[in-house]
């Protein structure tokens, strides 16, 4: 299972989403030296149950297993459950049990979905379009959350951008 095949399935199902988090920041990298190690891929969804359900179904069609907390993986996915998940802004994880862990999140600290989605940038991976949040939104969200791992990322990221900061007139 490749990440680009998941994105292709989401695009085919016309799911509205945008990639955020460290994985999103990595798409803005210029070279391998500015790519950060991360285990997770965060996919930000709007608070829309039908869209959420479409995202789950696309992931399952790609062979990913869905889970939410300790919930059994064989639970039926339907609009009722999607509505409850959206109401509670709960996170649903899709994983292939090997190297791909995708978090479908309805929350991006400091931001609502629409402004992030409207200013997204589309990049390409193996010919598949991938909507990625603006880097300024990703770092601002990290700053708003302020967990230790976010602070570490921000410090490392500022170092990666050091040449641009130093070049400033």
């Amino acid at each position: 299972m490749t990440v680009e095949s998941l994105f292709a399935a989401l695009n085919e199902a016309q799911v509205r989403y945008v990639v955020i988090g460290v994985a999103g920041a990595n798409y803005w990298a210029r070279s391998g030296q500015t790519v950060f190690a991360t285990q997770d891929l965060d996919v930000f969804l709007p608070p829309d149950a039908a869209n959420t359900l479409a995202a789950w179904r696309a992931a399952e069609a790609c062979g990913l297993d869905l889970s939410c907390g300790d919930e059994p993986r064989d639970r039926r996915r339907d609009l009722f459950l999607a509505e409850r998940i959206v109401e509670r802004r709960a996170l649903v994880r899709a994983a292939d049990g090997e190297c791909l862990d995708v978090d479908f999140t309805l929350v991006m600290a400091g931001f609502e979905f629409e402004p992030v989605f409207l200013s997204r940038r589309s990049f390409h991976v193996q010919g598949t379009a991938i909507p990625v949040a603006r880097l300024r939104h990703i770092v601002a969200s990290k700053a708003a959350t302020g967990r230790e791992k976010d602070k570490l990322f921000l410090a490392s990221h500022a170092e990666a951008l050091r040449s641009l900061i130093d070049e400033e007139p």
């Binding site: 210029r30 190690a37 639970r75 959350t145 400033e168």
Partner: protein, 66 residues
């Protein structure tokens, strides 16, 4: 299931925001505007890089278990 979701929704969200410097934010804007980050840029190499990293660590974890 709903009880689990309710517990999740009630859980406090720990937040300790940090302030980003204006120089860093200007650098981020310039970074976004680089030719490598234009709309439609091919980023296949990013995915290859992340995949290689994950496979490396998956093997390392498997080695530690074995």
């Amino acid at each position: 299931m709903l009880a689990l979701l309710d517990a999740y929704a009630r859980a406090p969200r720990v937040s300790n925001p940090v302030e980003l410097s204006s120089a860093y934010l200007r650098a981020v804007e310039r970074w976004e505007a680089l030719p490598e980050n234009a709309v439609g840029s091919d980023k296949s190499w990013v995915v290859r890089s992340q995949r290689a990293w994950k496979e490396h660590f998956a093997k390392a974890r498997a080695g530690n278990r074995g």
